[in-house]
């Protein structure tokens, strides 16, 4: 059931009301909860960007972790080596992630698809991790880089409450941009490629370029998220961008709902809060996220967003596969 006109207007109002209401969060919660909420915002972006490739574009990809790392390192290197203020490095990290997206998916222009593309992205991710460790002079090797302490207009950027406002603005902007992109002809081509590439090509749409475009946008969003992550933990090192992050991203996309923008928020919120308790036991996180993915695939293949859709047509999107 599609939403009616008045429901669509209500949805637009809600889209802006929710972040406005969130502005009050730092006044209400303690510093630990604030830290978690900041993590949720970052992971919402990570999930949004990853979902763009596997949910909307329908290509299997493993490079999400690489884009995240590229963004984080770009931000860290630009602040420490070039002395740029952190805020200015966010778009820089996004562009670096976008370049990563192009490099990881460029083979698509040569007609490489699905499994082959997935394996290339896997190799790309591992190559990046090798680079973090071995390009010591730039990345600090296994020791990593720590970000300098900064202030913005008199507010210290080490304060989680200050970070929250920056993160919130970036997150809302990127969600809005992604929604607009998905509604544009680019977004429609992207989803058409997922449904049937041959049919899409027969309409005169250059499908290879559409796929690369999808990866570039995904890289941009996740790259920006990486920049936020660099400030969030104020420390960037190779371990953060390993296999564990990969299964976390997969789980968040699936739990939220493959291809659903709302799902990106739901998945990130659900899975950032839960596993905080598991962190101290080695192996528990892998087991937990693995089991979550299996359970969702078997029981709720459309994710949490599909439950909300049953409640009200307000939550119906046109971005996922029915």
């Amino acid at each position: 059931m599609m939403p009616t006109q008045s429901q669509l207007r209500l949805r637009t109002v809600l889209f802006w009301m929710v972040p406005l209401a969130l502005l009050a969060v730092p006044l209400l919660v303690n510093s630990y909860v604030q830290f978690i909420v900041n993590s949720v915002l970052i992971y919402a972006l990570v999930t949004l960007g990853f979902n763009f490739v596997i949910g909307n574009l329908g290509q299997l990809a493993f490079a999400n972790t690489a884009f995240f790392g590229i963004g984080a390192y770009a931000s860290a290197i630009a602040t420490t080596s070039l002395g740029l203020p952190w805020l200015a490095t966010i778009p820089l990290a996004g562009v670096a992630g976008a370049i990563g997206g192009f490099l990881a998916s460029g083979a698509a222009l040569r007609g490489i698809r699905f499994y082959y593309l997935a394996i290339i992205t896997l190799a790309f991710g591992e190559l990046m991790r090798w680079l973090y460790v071995h390009a010591k002079s730039v990345t600090g090797g296994t020791d990593g880089l720590s970000l300098p302490r900064e202030t913005v207009m008199g507010y210290s950027l080490t304060d989680d409450r200050v970070k929250f406002y920056v993160f919130l603005v970036v997150t809302v902007l990127l969600f809005k941009a992604t929604l607009n992109l998905l509604r544009s002809h680019v977004g429609r081509s992207i989803m058409a490629v997922r449904e049937n590439e041959v049919a899409t090509a027969s309409l005169g749409i250059p499908t290879s370029r559409v796929i690369v475009t999808g990866f570039i946008w995904s890289g941009f969003v996740v790259g920006c998220a990486g920049s936020l992550f660099a400030l969030h933990t104020s420390y960037v090192f190779p371990e953060s961008f390993g296999m564990l992050h990969l299964i976390i991203s997969f789980a968040m996309v699936l739990v939220g709902g493959l291809g659903s923008v709302l799902g990106a928020v739901l998945g990130a919120a659900a899975l950032t809060v839960l596993p905080e308790y598991l962190r101290s036991f080695p192996g528990m996180e892998e087991l937990f996220f693995g089991l979550i993915v299996i359970a969702v695939l078997l029981v709720l293949p459309q994710g949490l967003a599909s439950l909300l859709r049953r409640v009200s047509p307000i939550f119906v999107e046109r971005f996922y596969r029915e």
């Binding site: 083979a107 082959y116 591992e126 590439e197 192996g283 528990m284 892998e286 693995g290 993915v293 596969r321």
Partner: protein, 289 residues
Amino acid sequence: MFLQLSISGLSQGAIYALVALSLTVVYRSTTIVNFGHGDFVMAGAFVSYVLTVMLGIAFLPAAVLSVLALFILGLCFSRGLIRPIRGGPHIGFALMCIAVGFVMRGIARIVWGREVLPMPSVFDMPPIFLGNLIITGDAIFIIGTTAVLLIAFFAVLALTDVGKMVQAVYQSQRGAQLIGINVDRFNDVTWGVGAALGAVGGILIAPVSLLHPDIGASFLIKGFAAMTLGGFGSLHGAVIGALLLGVAEQYAGAYINTALIDITAYLVIVIVLLVRPHGLFGRKSVVKV
């Protein structure tokens, strides 16, 4: 030097061959690439570790038991987790494989934590000296076992009725179904065989390297690199690609830079897919639309 490198390269390549072949076997009959296969390899190695070191069973019976255990695990995985999601998008299969891989890795890490387990050498014989050449017992053992297994595998495929059935399913699932082959059950068994073959690789590598829950990930990449080089989906291509990869790693490590050993596989994947996407023996894989 050159010969020495070739021998250690071949013994590494033999392991990769088992991994790549088992991936290919599953891929050819089910069109699913098992992104969790590295962890099946790891599981095989850990089961054999439990049986030999912790329960004190002799290596050979322990190895047979481990292979059997992984065969059953692969079969159950196919029956219990892959079959129910057949109706969904193809991406679901890949995600299921990844998830199961992480579950196994998580279990291994919960039990063994961050420690690294040494496995006793199996083939404890003095190395053979041929001039400057040193051939260890382990290398002979690995290459020998793999050679026997591969010959048996390809002989079954080429000479027996079972082999004909496999070829029929590879050509057309539907056609095979029409002539009375139970394709569902065939696929379950294929998953079992895939897991078991991978486990052999894990069991062989365990005595010459240290065991830890993350060894699977690197085997997966090497398997993919071998498959890509040999031609994705080609059985003999997977084996030849694996041997070439094993040798190439050693040469790159010795003659260029040791850090290159770790990334040779990635470079092979990227270069082959860009230059010759169908590899050495594969069919054209490129989409032309």
